[in-house]
């Protein structure tokens, strides 16, 4: 695994709205002219070193998900510069990219390829993935028949199968059962020991404390505090 790097300098992500207050792309906003805009995150600057695990804390709507999506490559910065080096695995929702009409096997193949693995390699790994997720026959049934826990376990297994050096979690680990939390923690610690990085957003501070050594407090889209997790938590919740 090559050295993972995340460096953000003055990163901003802007959302534009038309007169009907629908979010529009920049091209359409230019054509429609009149409209408003807001920044999901603005002037965000931080850098992570290998082995860093950062907890994003802040109120709902403070920009945590927008920042995670930007790090995942889901959104592109409208301002500033962002350098992400390393393979990224992201679980930004419990479903984490799963397509309901496809089976677990088909989803694993699709998401594995989209994550950067060659088709031939992920095909060979499918049976191991089925055994590890303990989905049994359900692995060949559509995702729409899965429970939330089964979906989370499958999407997490697919994400980790791609051997990421950067793991992004958005409150996923908070919504699920004790077994799944332990699983996420164990895999996250393995990743960090290999020199990977973890960025996790959430409101469960005891869990974040077990996962993360650093904290980043986002307030109205900007960084309000950056430091050790304890310092940031004290600043956020005095």
């Amino acid at each position: 695994m090559t050295t993972a790097t995340i460096a953000a300098q003055g990163v901003g992500v802007r959302f534009r709205f038309d007169r009907q207050r629908r979010v529009v792309t920049s091209t359409l906003a230019r054509l429609r002219r009149r409209g408003t805009e807001t920044w999901g995150i603005r002037d965000v600057t931080f850098a992570l070193a290998p082995g860093d695990a950062v907890a994003l804390v802040g109120a709902s709507g403070s920009g945590k998900t927008t920042l995670l999506r930007t790090l995942a490559g889901v959104l592109c910065p409208d301002a500033g510069r962002l350098l992400v080096r390393g393979r990224v695995a992201s679980l930004l929702s419990v479903d984490a990219g799963l397509t309901p009409a496809l089976t677990g096997r088909e989803n694993a193949l699709l998401l594995g390829v989209l994550a950067g693995m060659p088709r031939s390699h992920i095909r060979r790994a499918l049976d191991e993935l089925r055994d590890w997720t303990a989905l049994g026959d359900a692995f060949d049934r559509p995702i729409s028949s899965y429970s939330q826990g089964m979906r989370a376990r499958l999407s997490f297994a697919i994400a980790m199968q791609a051997m990421p050096s950067i793991l992004l979690l958005d409150e996923v680990h908070e919504a699920l059962d004790h077994d799944f939390r332990e699983l996420v923690e164990a895999e996250a610690h393995r990743l960090l020991r290999r020199g990977g990085m973890l960025v996790a957003a959430g409101h469960d501070h005891p869990l974040l404390e077990r996962l993360c050594n650093r904290g980043l407090w986002l307030h109205e889209g900007s960084v309000a505090a950056d430091g050790t997790f304890d310092d940031v938590r004290r600043a956020y919740v005095p």
């Binding site: 510069r81 790994a125 393995r190």
Partner: protein, 291 residues
């Protein structure tokens, strides 16, 4: 459920691959056409195949029933009319049913690609909102999905030729070229439809009506040879006209397609792609904002 502490099994080959393919990605520096160039270099082939395969299963299900559906789909458009003119009405003109099939079947590919394209971004929303990938390939994968379905409906042409006792000639050697132009038009329409569906989600039904109108503004129901006057001169401006007439040349008239029948639709498709691909490459950066 397995013990949570058990590490994920990984193939050694995957670990080697993971180490080899990590990239440095200064996101702000990615030029809009980077994805297009990557595809041209074959980098996105695995992604394209995976998207197409999943699209095929999500849209058409699994098993042999898919073939039946693909065969019946062209009938859904003008099927009753086709049966009537072939077996009941005996409309005047050269093999009216086959002539109609030569228009309906290529149009079916265009229509399905537009329908697929209009919802292609929304139907991938769960993936788009979770991870970065070559989103520029989404409409292309949709058009390829519909091309596979379209391949089955070509059997309808064979059925019509048998019904009218028209034997194939050496002109069928042109079929691969005609099919390639048809797919090119479908791909161009898929990119346009995908952008339209993204920008104007409320107007998707209007887009479908517009494409249907283009069918009737081309020699779809009646061959160009049977149309007189000014309309005969103007209809070839519609790129679909060349496409329909090329199929008629190959299957109905048994002769090589005229140059304009291939060049007009191909040039129109390339022009659309030249304009829309850079726009699409720029817009895909903001898909997650509007979903």
């Amino acid at each position: 459920m397995p013990a949570p502490s058990r590490p994920l099994p990984r193939l050694a080959s995957i670990e080697r691959q993971a180490a080899a393919t990590e990239i440095e990605e200064p996101r702000t520096a990615v030029p809009p056409l980077a994805h297009v160039r990557a595809l041209a270099a074959g980098v996105g082939l695995d992604v394209l195949l995976a998207l197409t395969e999943s699209d095929l299963r999500a849209r058409y299900g699994r098993g042999g029933f898919r073939l039946v559906k693909w065969l019946l789909d062209p009938f859904a458009l003008v099927g009753v009319y086709l049966l009537l003119v072939t077996f009941v009405i005996h409309r005047p003109g050269l093999a009216a049913g086959l002539s109609l099939a030569c228009a309906v079947i290529p149009f079916q590919l265009v229509m399905l690609s537009v329908t697929n394209g209009l919802g292609s971004v929304a139907s991938r929303s769960s993936i788009i909102l979770n991870m970065g990938f070559q989103r520029t390939l989404i409409p292309l994968a949709g058009a390829l999905t519909e091309t596979l379905a379209f391949g089955s409906s070509l059997l309808l042409v064979a059925l019509m030729m048998a019904a009218y006792a028209i034997a194939p000639t050496l002109a069928v050697l042109w079929l691969p070229v005609v099919l390639a132009v048809n797919v090119l038009v479908a791909v161009a329409c898929a990119y346009g439809a995908s952008l339209f569906g993204l920008w104007f989600p409320d107007l998707r039904a209007l887009a479908i009506s517009f494409v249907r109108a283009m069918f009737f503004l081309a020699p779809g129901l009646v061959a160009l040879a049977d149309i007189r006057g000014r309309a005969h001169d103007l209809l070839p401006l519609n790129p679909l006209s060349g496409l329909f007439e090329a199929y008629r040349s190959v299957f109905l008239y048994g002769r090589s397609p005229q140059a304009w029948q291939l060049l007009v639709p191909a040039a129109a498709a390339l022009l659309v792609l030249a304009v829309l691909l850079p726009v699409y490459a720029r817009e895909q950066r903001e898909f997650a904002k509007v979903l």
